[in-house]
Symmetry: D2
Subunit: 122 residues, 4 copies
């Protein structure tokens, strides 16, 4: 388990917060952060400008990303998941799911003709 | 930058996916994963049973957590945020925001009498 | 089309806001409102108390519900959906999907043994 | 109360589903639908194409909109909110919040110079 996940575990344990860490609360915590990040980019349609406003408000974005990780760590701690193991699996899965030859310069939206091997299998 | 964030950066670059990685798409990617995780816990009200069903479906939860990290890394890469730096800041902030003496055995929902120094300042 | 959906259509048209009403922005708009409503109920685990705090903060909840409808109407207007027709279909679907005899006093979480005919078919 | 909200109330009451309708579950229900709708539009950046794919998959979008209304009605029923009253208030608020002269042909993202009287007041 990485040091951040461990620190967050200790923080919650010291406060005896397990009683409040219902997975539903933690999932909704992530949702709230996504909503806050939305405020930085909303209504603008130009991708270059969207990136500029994100960089210009890097503190805001950094806050949101850190807070999402925080909730993710609490969720993982509640059910014995090691976040780093989870990431390694996702990376390995995505290598199989999106082979370079099928996905270079192409998106993977199936409604718009994109390939996504996860759904081919189904 | 940690090795996972770097690997995900390389993965996206090889595919030339920057053109698709609008921050709005990445935020909605996280939302979709939250929605999938909701299926594991929905409608059950008993906290013990909620934890049991999460542990029993650890693969599903691990998948969701890994995928959320994936989108988080793409978002961070798009605006020059180092995820580990973001987490360190959140941990430092939360130590100030939720002092042990105010928050031990207490939740922080202000609508229900909880203390949250973030809002005291405002 | 009901009068609310019509009024919202006119409001957006007068402002020439179609150029900003990317479906992704509207979906994220709903997400932001969900995040705000989360603040009213977070961390509390007692269902009775959750209902009390919702009723006590009825204005807050009413705001959130109205705002979600607002984004829903803009989304519907953007792709020729009549909200009332959509609701009628959902009601008809759910009558088939959740027959009274299978679902009285039972939840429909499949991970916890619940029945949901939508997934039986798959 | 409109006939849809009433029908949904009766549907839930017949099944004695109040015991499962924790506001957190209903909020997460909306999140799941948003995640499903994301699949229709993800990764595409052209606003015209986004609208075309929404119209082409109108059934999918209609389903999502109907299901979101369903959860909204259950949430409203749980705390004595009349959805139509909520919408009327939102419409009245937005007329004040976004005066035509300030917002015609302009978005309201404050991070990008937009005006939003809700935040001016704060």
């Amino acid at each position: 388990m990485n040091k951040y996940q461990k620190t967050i575990k200790k923080f919650a344990k010291e406060r005896n917060w397990g009683q409040f860490h219902n997975p539903k609360d933690l999932l909704l915590g992530v949702v709230e952060e996504i909503g806050e990040l939305r405020n930085v980019v909303k209504w603008e349609q130009d991708l270059t400008k969207l990136r500029e406003v994100m960089v210009k408000n890097k503190d805001e974005v950094e806050d949101g990303i850190g807070d999402i990780y925080w909730f993710l760590a609490l969720l993982a701690n509640g059910c014995g998941v090691d976040i780093d193991v989870a990431i390694e699996k996702t990376i390995a899965d995505n290598k199989k799911r999106f082979p370079l030859k099928d996905t270079k310069d192409r998106h993977t939206n199936r409604f718009l003709g994109g390939k996504d091997k996860k759904y081919d299998k189904k």
